[in-house]
Subunit: 198 residues, 2 copies
Amino acid sequence: MIGIVGGSGDFGQGLAERLRRIGEEVCIGSRTPRDDFLSNEEASRRSEVVFLSVPPGGVAEMSRGLRDVLAGRIVVSVAAPIVFRDGQAGAEPGELSLAEITAVAAPEARVVAGFHTVSARALADPDVPLDEDVLLAGDDAEAKEIVAGLAARLVEGRAVDCGRLEVARWLETLTAVLLNVNRRYKTNAGVRVTGLSE
Amino acid sequence: MIGIVGGSGDFGQGLAERLRRIGEEVCIGSRTPRDDFLSNEEASRRSEVVFLSVPPGGVAEMSRGLRDVLAGRIVVSVAAPIVFRDGQAGAEPGELSLAEITAVAAPEARVVAGFHTVSARALADPDVPLDEDVLLAGDDAEAKEIVAGLAARLVEGRAVDCGRLEVARWLETLTAVLLNVNRRYKTNAGVRVTGLSE
């Protein structure tokens, strides 16, 4: 089972539908459980892999609150420190990445950062293939490999291992670049890493 | 004429050779003028477009020193705030991007940030085509367009307009992601932005 915490937004809903289409069982958690939405805690409890799809300001508190249930689970941090000013996207990163904040708040979670370059709007249209890579960072090699296996089935490109969890600091802010590209080109941009041979 | 300030390193030399191969006249500036290297000031003075290829710690001082000669010129900031710790690449950005630091120190320069995702090692081998895009940011639309025209002739991909100069904050740190990818895959990675229609 794959859980999506905070999954009632575009990103979570699109991801859930795409995961179901590749044959995965998915449950969605929400602050306000209703209809198809479980509580975030219950969605986490049922899942081996938990996507944390939470606004940046809520990452620390959510991770602390789920600390016990996330212990030993693979947690995919997709959050980015995005802010909007005068309609323009920017980033206001702290000293640590949001993924590292989760790793500190839930120290037994097996945190993998990724999917920051995958547009929520592109995800939300599951009939359109995702012509892009998924960029991952994490300190738990096995967890990263499992997330990479999932990611590679979701996109036309590949899962790219960008190294240790600290690298999430510079992956998360890349979202701000792509949001600006989207604005200029009126599109849902993604990224492919070139020069990888295999 | 295109000038490359601080051009005696891998990045500058590779860029110079590639620019010459597309028919541009190039001059290279160095702190220690000799043989084919002019002074940085003289290289700037002769050029309409000046690449600033300076280590991150030297950007502010170099930009201040060249302030008068850079006035009215198109200045391409390629610097990234990279640090190495235990052999691993990371970024230590300040509040402003290095491109913005140049814009503050040389306020009449027409600063465009770009080329942060183009590997110096890949540039240095001019027989190998660059299978990637060039990502640009800047507040001077005309300057950005001129640099985009040059960039598009240097790579197989395209020049992607990532918006205003502030976006350089999140472009410059992307270099740290790619250096980590290079380490893991033993390659010279680049980036293509997907989802752009035209």
